[in-house]
Amino acid sequence: MRERIRGWHVVLAGLVVVLAAPAAAVSKASQLPTKIGAGEGALSVVEWAGYTDPSFAKQFEKQTGCVIKRKDAGSSNEMFNLIHGGGGGGGGQYDLVSASGDASLRLIYAGDVQPVNIKLIPSWKDFLPAFKSPPHNTVKGVHYGVSLQWGPNTLIYNTAKVKPAPKSWSAIYDPKYKGKITVPNNPIQIADAALYLQKTKPALGIKDPYELTKPQFDAAVALLKQQKKLLLRYWLYPADDIKDFKTGDAIIGATWPYQTLQLQAAKVPVKEIIPKEGVTGWADTWMLTKRAPHPNCAYKWMAYASTPPVQARQALVFGETPVNPKACPYMDKLQKGSCAGYHLNAPASYAKSIRFWKTPVKTCGWGGRNDCMDQQAWNNAWASITG
């Protein structure tokens, strides 16, 4: 009897495997919508923590009836995984992703996001010229999303415990602070090391911290391997970073302005600076996934998030700079002098001091070379540094 059952099991197994094989994804030719239809009652986003903060999202939910479901990501890789995993295109789960420049091109080329009709975003025409059709979200004139906010990755330190006040990124490679340093758990962190080496080791000839030849890349990786011995930890979620500075386990590190604002609000004596070597930074885009289940609510949100009052409020919640300069008076109304504080009155010169995240690819943007290290090499190197 046993033998017979086994035979049947094999047949059964074959049958179920055939049934369980995923139906080939049928891709519909996506046509740009010409108007935003009625909301679907829900909106599901993958975001950086605070990007749909209730302080400005509540009003949107009330106006449109689109209830926001949030999934916070801690790194660009995690964002990419969330959208690309589950069958791709947001898995039919997620509508929008607030992708930074080091994830946006990957999402476009992986076919996970769809073109957006920019005419449906009324505030777009007011954007800073640099963020209207930037190369990280616009390919061959096709917009794959709406620029959102931008800002620097800063150096944070505890003013009571770190003296004298640091001026250079050398502080996070300094054995003096052994066991008290934190940095983000994100492969793009290699660019921070490259930027530091560009200024401190000119012999390496680093032209662009995201376009590194093998020797330049190896030097940055070696620096980070040295740094690992000095670290408290690599943080993935901003909440963990905040916690470490609150408990005093961490006293110096690389962070985002968001954490600094949260810590200062909690009366932790921290300060952030833009070190003399300059900083890396992000320029984020709301991107619409290919299989978005609530596209109308997504368009409504992209339009809403670009309006000056919302841009101003988000900028102050997260500590970043709007792409819409009309947000300036609203920022000043919410917090005096904040428009100048976040350099929205002089965006061009400020933006030049920030090296924005971008996806590392084989083609170097300089010297016509084709031997730069790509994202996969960055991911592998990051695993060998942190693991």
Partner: protein, 304 residues
């Protein structure tokens, strides 16, 4: 059955009878129909996903589009077993070492506790201890891990207590030692319960017989209790070992630099380089197969 047989019309009755006849003549058919749903679920959920994972581990991923390229290759395994850059071997070794350390610690902690519960404690104490062991499982695993980050932090209760006793700081926050403590705590109930079940089944008369034959405490433990408790220890160790092997949240929250386990790498690469993640995820599967074979060889399953 609520069917009124007397009123049943001809063809329906005939069909029912021939069906029941068919089942009677072919017992395997009856068994097949009974097992169809659970077997299908097993095949679809476990076997098919494992098979898909195994297959993808022999493919590669386009590094720019993250598209899977369906050409058969051993590249992913070459990356893992690359002796020039032993990153992934190091992480695998760390994961297995952590799983062994946690399993051994849990076994040492669980055995006396389970023995006390099974053989010494009265019914009231026993139920109290059961509740105490199960209580943590009622709260979220995340909350318990986060509370451990507070306990271990440099300004946390642990150092406060140590300093109060005149001892120096423990410095366990974000270290592999801290991770070992947290893992040991989180999986302890999964060791206590099977060991308790095994010890509870040992008849008291066997212990008395051992004493009558002159076996003292240690001898009785070695020759009577331990062999009979082995299946429980084996079952518990399979839980603690495999749970540690697959975990990635604990290292993320309490681990420091150099605390990545296999699960962390798999979770980071799961979409951007799915084929590598699949290949790396085969490592714990292979380790578990070897481990279970070893446990079976030691005879731990014979008494089950």
């Amino acid at each position: 059955m609520a069917v009124d047989v007397g009123r049943e019309t001809g063809p329906l009755r005939g069909a029912r009878l021939s069906l029941s006849g068919a089942f009677w003549r072919r017992p395997w058919l009856r068994l097949l129909v009974l097992l169809l749903v659970p077997a299908a679920a097993f095949v679809a959920v476990y076997a098919a996903s494992l098979g898909a994972m195994l297959a993808s581990s022999f493919w590669t991923t386009d590094s720019f589009t993250a598209e899977i390229v369906h050409t058969w290759t051993l590249d992913q395994y070459r990356t893992i077993f690359n002796l020039d850059d032993p990153t992934y071997l190091r992480i695998a070794a760390r994961t297995i070492g952590m799983a062994v350390a946690v399993t051994v610690t849990d076994a040492i902690l669980a055995f006396p506790l389970a023995f006390f519960m099974a053989k010494i404690a009265g019914p009231r104490t026993r139920s109290f201890l059961f509740v105490m062991i199960l209580l943590p499982l009622w709260s979220s695993y995340l909350v318990r891990i986060y509370s451990w980050t507070t306990i271990l932090s440099s300004s946390g209760p642990l150092n406060w207590m140590l300093n109060g006793l005149g001892l120096p700081d423990a410095n366990l926050a974000f270290t592999n030692k801290g991770m070992w403590i947290v893992f040991t705590y989180v999986w302890l109930p999964f060791m206590v319960l099977p060991v308790y079940a095994a010890l509870e089944r040992i008849p008291g008369s066997l212990l008395e017989a051992s004493y009558d034959l002159g076996g003292r405490g240690l001898r009785t433990f070695r020759s009577v209790i331990l062999p009979l408790a082995l299946p429980g220890l084996a079952a518990g160790s399979i839980f603690t070992f495999s749970l540690t092997l697959g975990d990635y949240i604990t290292p993320l929250l309490v681990g420091g630099p150099g605390s990545s386990l296999i699960g962390n790498i798999v979770s980071e690469q799961s979409a951007s380089n799915l084929t590598f993640a699949a290949a790396y995820a085969m490592v714990p599967v292979a380790v578990m197969v070897l481990y279970i074979a070893l446990v079976k060889r030691l005879g731990a399953f014979e008494a089950l």
